[in-house]
Every structure is written in structure tokens, then in C-alpha cells.
Symmetry: C2
Subunit: 386 residues, 2 copies
């Protein structure tokens, strides 16, 4: 018979200390890092008594990008930033030159082949990135068949709050990642689910399905989810910008429209992407010129392409004109003033002006960053399907 | 007009080097770590020219749990294990005493408040943990309403391959995590989706829905997904083992049965859990004695409880007997020989024997580890709904 005695904290602690693998609960000292102070500055702490130099690096440090931490008598290194603007920041530590994450901050996000710590400062635009007390959509990782690539492939699908409880049909935003990214990218550093949940709850965006495919057709899926196993992501992948993604985009649309309650027409389809995903959005929407009424190019990789590599890139000028002649509701371009693609985008705008195409152009501060891409999503999504 | 020239690798490289935040692609030397050698040994490498001592720790090192790495002339520290049995191993580095992850291995999994690197050695039982060329189920993160806890809560749902393409009804396994875990635990170190995909493809397990809730009713969701934001997980949570989870389990069942095509009867419901989740499974299945035909206790936290804290714990002996008198198809208990809960489980078996209850008992090597819990899932799932 089981003894029915009062459940003691001592027992709880004993269970806790050995309950799972690789726990670190027996550390002598509990360290809080990062700590968001009342003035919106952030204090970092790292216990490293043997280190001779510890630095903190990342966009959270501002223009310098790196700051030296100070060692306290107890072996804990600290650094406090100035008051920070509302933003999702990333950072990591350099301990005697060795890059390491903040072990006291479990919130770590992989960006391509690099894992960084994240901290969100609310009280402004980054409130859109936080989980609020609002209805939440569902995020699913599914697999779809892509006959064009002769493989099944993983895809992330956001369905808005209420999708499962009613019979309505929804519009669809296809949202594409940049070079080196995959089907995890927009959900991780992009905070897509939180942004959509919040914009929808505020009445700013329509309820929509957001489809986030893997734009590297040589891959099935993100590391650990691909049949290749735990591969290391790289920027140098074959078939990323040679027309294959655009050619096989119909596999994705077909899957979505056969598997979700959607309005399968042009006025209810949007496509947008960052960097390489902007390149994919530009060419996909042009190659299928009666498919998308909304196009978003976020810091798009406007780049030369091989004319003969794919039918996607043939007759660029005439097909681009045709896309606009067919009529579309929004062709949105966003770029940062210091983005290395700024001039390429300026040249592309001249091309658009030359054919009399109407588009919305937003020039922001900063460069080729997730900070801008989250901003662009927040600006773009409310303009869709209105 | 865009120049249509051959798409050059030079341009690709220039895009790559600055395309996203915090990349580390300009490191002088590309390091591969871990490397699985042909004899199934694993070589670890870490570039740390300024370090005086580097160790690798984790279950991958074997009994010692830690090994000292050797410094090469180029500043890279290395260590090679002996040939390893097929398993999912975890590890991390200690650099002059500072715990750090392997930055060259993007596959990192959070276990409660600790992030560890992972490596899977195939060619044996761990093949079940790898993504194989088989049909894949869908993993969804959803939110359900829990009136009993006065909050909406996040939940992970695995639906088997084909769920979306047909109209069949499926049985349901409710799969519960341990102390400090959350709705991410079974999908991460538990490899539930891969295990189910593989067992189903091999014809060993029936197609089933697997529901992985958050067993800490004081939480809405995992860190970063909760309205609390980026909190640090802890083992010492209120209301984890005081009856609240069991009392409000009907909110979960109601959500699942209203939102998925399931067979809503006893013969098509299973409940299982590890450690604290085993405690929850024991009490939930007993408190609702006509609800589950299959019960799995994986290294269950058989612990004293407060008789008066909740109606869940009242009349333990009579309700346990009632559960067995009602009839059930499988009551499965697994425990490792060196588990700190071994004796508590032995005592509980005496209780079961005392009331003439029939159960299946599996005693494995090892202790309170994810290695055992994955094994138990692989043993348990094929026995369900047959």
C-alpha cells in the first residue's frame, strides 16, 4: 500500500535533482541572465571564474556590436546596456575568444548554422513578437509531396485562430525565407505566429493561412528533420536560385489548396519573401502571372540570373509587364538604406517605372536584418485581402 | 532592366556572407563536429586556442561521463570515443570549466533549463529516432481552452500519416512529460514523431494520434510561447503533483475529441507518461476508471501524496481496485534497475499484486533517462489498440 503522507518539498527536490538527463540544477549559484531592468536596459551575467576576457556581442550592443564585460569578485562577469528600444535582439558571449551561448537563457534560436540567444524588449513594436492574451493560431509541421522535386518535403503552416472551429474559407500568404534558411526560419526569428496572432486580435490583419515552405529544393527539411539527419546548414546549396523553386511552386499551391479550406483564386493569394525569398517571390509571381494579387519583396535578392537555366527566367521584361497588365492589388517592396542590395533594388525600381508598373516602396533604416523583415511583415500583412 | 548574365558563384558568396544576422560563415577554418566515424566512434572538435583545458561530457562518454580533449597545434581540441552502440546521445563541452555547446552542431535540444547537443548513432535501435524514407505524420502546436485551469494552454498533437487525406477515426495516446518538462519534451528528446512514423511504417504500431500536453497546470506553455515570455524553466513548480493536472485532464480529452476524428471510447484511449507523467498517468487513469484501456507508467514517480489535497487522491486503494475490476487491456510498467524510483515502483507492484491486478512489468538496464523512456515508448506503442 502506498503511504499517504503529505507530499514534501524535500521529496520533490530529490526527484527534481535527478529526474532528467543533463540537468544543471545543482550549480552552486543561480544566475539570472539576461535581466531586463525597469529602464529597459539589459544586464548580462556569465559565471566564468577562469576566463581572462569575456565579451557580449550582437545587435543588442548597438553600433559597436560588441562590449567587454567586467569580472566581479565571485567570478561572474557582467555588462549592462543602456536603455533599449523595443525589439527582438540576439546576442552571444565570447569567452577568451570562444563564442558561446548564455546557458542561463534557454531561449536560443538557430539562424542557418548559428545558434544565438534571444531577448525581447517589449513596450513598443516588439510587443507584436510576444505571446499576448489573445486567441492563438495553430502551427503545424507537415509533409507534402513535391513531384517536381521527386521528394516529400516538410512545410510549416500557420492556421489562424478559429480555423478548426468553423467552416470558413481563408486566404493564403506564402511566406519565403532567405538563403541558408528553411521551413523553420519565419517561425523562429521571424515570430510569424505571434505577429499574426497579434495583428489579427487587434483587427489589423485579416485571418489568413500562412504557408512557410523550404525554399532549398535540394533539401527535404531542416537539420534533424531531413532524411540526411543532422546535417550542417550552409549558404552554398545547389538549385536555390536556378528556377527550380519557382518551377515547382505549383506543388506547394496544389498541396495547400487540396488540404486546407482556402479560397483558391488570385484575389486570395499573396506571396512574399525575404532576400532569396524575395527573389523567389518576384519570379514565382511573374512566372505564374495570374496567380497572386499580392506580392511582397522584403530586401529582395534582385540579382542577375542565368537566362537559359530555366524557363522561369525567359522573357523577363515581357512577362513582368504581363503580370502588371493582368492587374494586381499590391506589389510591395521594402529595403533598408544600408542594405547591400539597396542599389540592385533601386535598379529594379527603374525597370518597374519603365513599364509603368505601380508598386509600394518602403525605405527603412538599417540593413539586411531580421529586425527589418519582422517590420516588413507587420507593415505588409495588414494590407492583404482587404 | 535587369542584366541577364550567368549567375556567378562570386555573387552568391557575397550574398551569403551578409545575408542574415549573426552568421558565422567567415570563420577561418571549417570544423566538423561531431563526426561519426565508420566504426561508429565519434570525434568531437572544438576550436579554442586560448583554453587550457577542454572536456567533453554527456552520456556519450560512457560511465565516466566526462573525457579530456587534446589540443592540436592549430588550436583545435579533439576527442574520439570508442565504437558506440546505436543511441541518441547528448553532450556538451567544458572549456576551462565553462559549459558550452558545440557551435558546429546545430542540433541542440532543450531539456528543462539546459540546452545540450545531440548526436544519433544509427544502425540499431536509434534508427527509430531518425527520419526515414517513410510517410510522415503532422506535428501541430495548438492551443486549447482549459476551463478547469482558467486559461488557454498550448498542446502538441501528432496526427499519423494519412490523417488529413481520409475520413477514418483514430485511437489516441495521451503522452505525458516529466517534472520540469513541457509540451515540447516528448517531441524533442523523446523523438515521438520519428518513433511513431517508423513503427507505423514497419507495421508494428497502429496509426494513432499522440497528444502531448503541458503537465504543469501553472503554465500556459513552454518558454517563449507562454504569456510570461522568456521564463527560465524550473523543477519547483506549484500545482504539478497536487491533483490539478488529473482533475483538469477532462479539458484535454474534451478538446481532442471535439477537434479530431477519434474513436471516443475506452478501448481507443491510452495514457502514458515518464516520471511525473507516470504519476499523472497512474492517477488520471484511476480517477477516471472507465476511460483508458491502456496505461503506461515509464519510470513513474510513485510518490507519497497529500490525501486531502485533492479528490483525485481520495480512496486510493478502492479506486485502484475499481479501475482493474472495470477491466483494462494493458497496464504497463517500465523501470531501470538503477533508477532512484526503483524501490518505490517495487512497492507499488506489491500494492498491485495485493489486489490481484494484472500488469506487464519491464525492468531495463540504466536509470532515470530519456534513453529508457524512448525504449519504453518503442515497446509500449506496438501493444496499443491491437
Amino acid at each position: 500500500m502506498i503511504k499517504k503522507i503529505v507530499f514534501g518539498l524535500l521529496l520533490l527536490a530529490s526527484l527534481g535533482s535527478t529526474a532528467q538527463e543533463n540537468l544543471n540544477f545543482n550549480a552552486k549559484k543561480e544566475i539570472t541572465s539576461p535581466e531586463i531592468n525597469t529602464d529597459k536596459s539589459v544586464t548580462f551575467r556569465l559565471m566564468a571564474p577562469n576566463a581572462t576576457k569575456v565579451e557580449v556581442q550582437g545587435d543588442i550592443i548597438g553600433a559597436a556590436g560588441m562590449a567587454t564585460m567586467k569580472k566581479q569578485a565571485d567570478g561572474v562577469w557582467t555588462y549592462t546596456t543602456g536603455p533599449l528600444k523595443s525589439e527582438l535582439y540576439s546576442y552571444s558571449f565570447l569567452v577568451d575568444g570562444l563564442k558561446t551561448v548564455d546557458a542561463n537563457n534557454v531561449y536560443q534560436i538557430r539562424d542557418v548554422a548559428s545558434v544565438v540567444n534571444v531577448v525581447i524588449i517589449g513596450g513598443g513594436k516588439a510587443d507584436n513578437y510576444l505571446v499576448a492574451d489573445v486567441p492563438h493560431g495553430t502551427v503545424s509541421k507537415r509533409w507534402y509531396n513535391s513531384p517536381g522535386n521527386a521528394k516529400t518535403r516538410r512545410i510549416t503552416i500557420y492556421t489562424p485562430p478559429g480555423y478548426e472551429e468553423n467552416k470558413e474559407k481563408y486566404p493564403v500568404l506564402y511566406l519565403l525565407h532567405g538563403m541558408g534558411g528553411d521551413e523553420e526560419a519565419w517561425g523562429a526569428l521571424g515570430r510569424t505566429a505571434q505577429i499574426l496572432d497579434n495583428l489579427i486580435a487587434q483587427g489589423k490583419a485579416k485571418k489568413m493561412i500562412v504557408v512557410m515552405p523550404n525554399g532549398n529544393v535540394a533539401q527535404q527539411a531542416a537539420p534533424g528533420e531531413d532524411i540526411k539527419g543532422l546535417y550542417k546548414p550552409t549558404m552554398q546549396l545547389p538549385n536555390t536560385m536556378d528556377g527550380k523553386m519557382e518551377e515547382t511552386f505549383t506543388d506547394i499551391i496544389k498541396f495547400v489548396e487540396n488540404n486546407y479550406r482556402v479560397n483558391a483564386n488570385k484575389s486570395q493569394r499573396a506571396i512574399a519573401g525575404l532576400s532569396m525569398g524575395g527573389f523567389h517571390s518576384l519570379h514565382t509571381s511573374r512566372f505564374y502571372p495570374k496567380t497572386f494579387d499580392y506580392v511582397g519583396l522584403f530586401s529582395p535578392a534582385i540579382m542577375p540570373f542565368a537566362k537559359t537555366s530555366s524557363p522561369v527566367y525567359e522573357n523577363f521584361d515581357t512577362t513582368l509587364k504581363k503580370q502588371f497588365d493582368n492587374g494586381l492589388k499590391l506589389y510591395w517592396i521594402g529595403i533598408g538604406k544600408t542594405d547591400f542590395l539597396y542599389k540592385a533594388v533601386a535598379d529594379y525600381r527603374k525597370t518597374l517605372d519603365g513599364i509603368g508598373a505601380k508598386y509600394t516602396y518602403v525605405e527603412s533604416e538599417g540593413g539586411h536584418t531580421w529586425s527589418n523583415w519582422r517590420d516588413y511583415l507587420v507593415l505588409f500583412a495588414p494590407q492583404l485581402f482587404q
